[in-house]
Symmetry: C2
Subunit: 328 residues, 2 copies
DNA sequence: CTGAAAGCGCTTACAG
DNA sequence: CTGAAAGCGCTTACAG
C-alpha cells in the first residue's frame, strides 16, 4: 500500500487537504470535531507527515549539523548529549559528523553538512579559521570552545576555576607548581597556561611550564620524569587524560598522589571520576552550554546580532589534592 | 539575495532547468561544454541543491537514524563513529539520538526519528522488543547488539574470545574463577555468563558467579570484597568499566594485579588502554560491524531478506593477566 | 543531448 | 472555520 498523505486523509473524509494540513500545524484553526476525525483517520492510515515536503514548503529542514573533532575523546560525548538535548527542545534533530581527529578534513565536512541543515555547530575545531569560515559561507553557525572572529562563539572559561585551584594548592603548602601545556594547535592550551601563570604570580608560587604535550594518557605518563625533576609538588595538567597519565607515571616511580604530589585535571570526563584516587578537576556546565549554543544558533538564523558567551567551569575537588608533604 | 536554484542557473545560461538538474545527478547525459558552464555558474551563484526538494522528488531523505542508549558509555562513541563512517560511504547522513540511559524512552524516540529517516539503527536497546517493533513499524531498521525476532540483527559474539580467555587463565594456573554478571536487563549479560560457564566446564575450572552488577566502575569496586571472599584468583568482568572498578577495589585492599589476581574485561574501551596496568580485554571489530549494519539496512530498504550477522570479538592480552600466584 | 511538463507532499496567503 | 490554488525546488519519464 502507498504512503498515506494529507490527500488520502482528505479524500477519506471528504474534506480538503488544507484542513488536514492545518489539523497538524495549526490545530486551533480547525473545528474540534473535524480535527478529531482527521487525527483518528491519520492514525488509522498510519499517516506520517513528509519532512521533505514540509521542509520544501516552509524552507526549514529542522536539522542542525554538529561537527565534532573526535567523538572518541571523552570530552565530547557529554557535549553531544547536551547539544542534542537542547536541539530536541527546540524541535530540531542533530546530524552528527565526526572529523576523526583530522583537522584538515573539517572544512570539507562543513561544506558537506551545510546544504542539509539549517544551522551548523562546530565544536572545538582545529582547522584554520579562514578555511572554516569560507566553508560555512552564509549558513548560520556557531563555534564552541574556540574564539573565532566573525563567527559567534560559546566557550567555557576555566580561568576562574584554575585560579581557585592554584590558590588552594598554595594554601596547601605547594609553593612550586608545574603547569602542563596542551597541544600546540588547541585553542584552549594557551588560555589555560595564561590563567595558571597569572594566578601563580598573584599567589606567589613558583611556576614551571612543561610541554606542549598531546592530550593523551601516554604523554602524561611520560611527563612524570620531567615533573619529578622539576622539584614541584603540585601539577596542573591540561586535561584529565593527561592528568591520569601523570597519576600513572608517578605511581610507577613510587610517588603517591595526593601524599607526595597534588594533581589537578580539567574537563571532568568519566575517567576522572573512575580513576583512583578520583581526580580533582574542573567541571564545565555542559547543559547550560548546550542551551546557549542552540539559542545562539537560533538567533543567528533569525538575523539577530548575537553576543559571544562564556560559561564558567567550576573546580571540583576530589582525591588528588591535599596538603604538601611536610606540611603540618 | 535569494537562494540560487536550478532555475536561476538555467535562466542565467538560457537553457532548461532539466539540463541543469542532470548536470548534477547524471552528468554523463549532459554535453561536456554545457556541463562545465553549468558547474561554473552554479559555483559563482553559490548554488546548493535543496535536499528537501530532492528528497521530495526522489522519495529519499539520505538520512539514517541512529538511536544510542547512552552516549556517555564509552562503548558507544567508537560505534557511532563506525556507523557514521559506513553511512557516509553510502552517501547517507546520521541523525543521532541519545536515550540518556532511559530504556523506556526508546520507543518514543524511535517514533520521533522515523518520519525523518530512510532507515533506523537501534543500538543495544533496553526497551521491550514489542514496544520497539511497534514503534519501528514499516521503516527499515536493524538492531545492533541484541537479538530480536522479526528485526534484522548485527551482534558481536564474544563467546569464542571469552572461551580463549578462560583457557588462558586455566593454563596460567587459575583454577578458580569469578564471572561477574552484567545488568539484568542487558541482553549481553546472560550470553557472556553462559559462554564463560561453558568454557569453565570444558577446562575443568571451578566457577563462582557474582552479580548482577551495574556496568559501572563503582559496582566493580565494591565487588572486590566478594571476589576476595570467593577465593578465586581469576576474574572475568562483564565489561571494562566494571573491570577497572575491580582493579581499583583490589588495590585498595592491598592486592596486586596481575601478581595476585588476573582480570579480564570486555569491549576494549579507551579506559582499558589507559588504566594501569592496561586491561586484558575483548576487542570488537567495530568498523566491520558498522559496515554490516549499514549494508543490512540498505538490504532491508530494498526489500531483500537479510540474514542476521555476528562479528567476532577478539581477545586482546595486555597487563592484567599473568600466571597465578605460586605458579612456577 | 535537450526541453516541456507533471509530480513529489506539504504550507499558506487569499477568498469566502 | 474551510476550500481552491499557487508555490517550495527538485527529478524524471516522454518526446524530440
Amino acid at each position: 500500500m502507498k504512503r498515506a498523505t494529507i490527500y488520502s486523509i482528505a479524500e477519506e473524509l471528504g474534506i480538503s487537504a488544507s484542513t488536514v494540513s492545518r489539523a497538524f500545524t495549526r490545530p486551533e484553526l480547525v473545528k474540534r470535531s473535524v480535527r478529531e476525525r482527521i487525527l483518528a483517520t491519520a492514525e488509522q492510515l498510519g499517516y506520517e507527515p513528509s519532512w521533505a515536503a514540509r521542509g520544501l514548503a516552509t524552507g526549514r529542514t529542522g536539522l542542525i549539523g554538529l561537527l565534532i573533532p573526535d567523538i572518541t575523546n571523552p570530552f565530547f560525548p557529554p557535549l553531544v548529549r547536551a547539544i542534542e538535548k537542547a536541539a530536541a527542545g527546540r524541535g530540531s534533530g542533530v546530524l552528527l559528523v565526526d572529523a576523526e581527529a583530522n583537522g584538515a578534513a573539517e572544512p570539507g565536512l562543513v561544506a558537506q553538512l551545510k546544504p542539509q541543515v539549517e544551522g551548523l555547530i562546530i565544536a572545538s575545531p582545529r582547522a584554520p579559521s579562514a578555511a572554516l569560515k569560507e566553508a560555512v559561507g552564509q549558513t548560520p553557525a556557531v563555534v564552541v570552545n574556540r574564539a573565532m572572529r566573525g563567527l559567534p562563539t560559546v566557550v567555557v572559561d576555566n580561568g576562574p576555576a584554575l585560579r581557585e585551584a592554584v590558590r588552594n594548592l598554595v594554601a596547601d603548602g605547594h609553593h612550586k607548581l608545574v603547569v602542563m601545556r596542551g597541544p600546540a594547535d588547541a585553542w584552549a592550551a594557551a588560555r589555560r597556561v595564561e590563567a595558571v601563570r597569572a594566578a601563580a604570580g598573584q599567589e606567589g608560587a613558583e611556576l614551571v611550564e612543561l610541554g606542549p604535550f598531546e592530550a593523551q594518557f601516554e604523554d602524561g605518563r611520560r611527563a612524570a620524569r620531567e615533573i619529578l625533576a622539576s622539584g614541584a609538588t603540585g601539577v596542573l595538567a591540561f586535561d584529565d587524560l593527561m592528568a591520569c597519565g601523570v597519576l600513572s607515571g608517578l605511581a610507577e616511580r613510587g610517588r603517591r598522589v595526593p601524599d607526595d604530589f597534588s594533581l589537578v585535571g580539567c574537563d571532568d570526563v568519566l575517567l576522572a571520576r573512575t580513576v583512583t584516587p578520583a581526580l580533582t578537576t574542573i567541571t564545565a556546565p555542559l547543559e547550560e552550554l548546550g542551551n546557549h549554543v542552540v539559542e545562539r544558533l537560533d538567533g543567528v538564523a533569525r538575523g539577530e546580532a548575537v553576543k559571544d558567551v562564556r560559561v564558567r567551569g567550576e573546580l571540583t575537588v576530589r582525591g588528588t589534592t591535599a596538603p604538601a608533604p611536610g606540611t603540618s
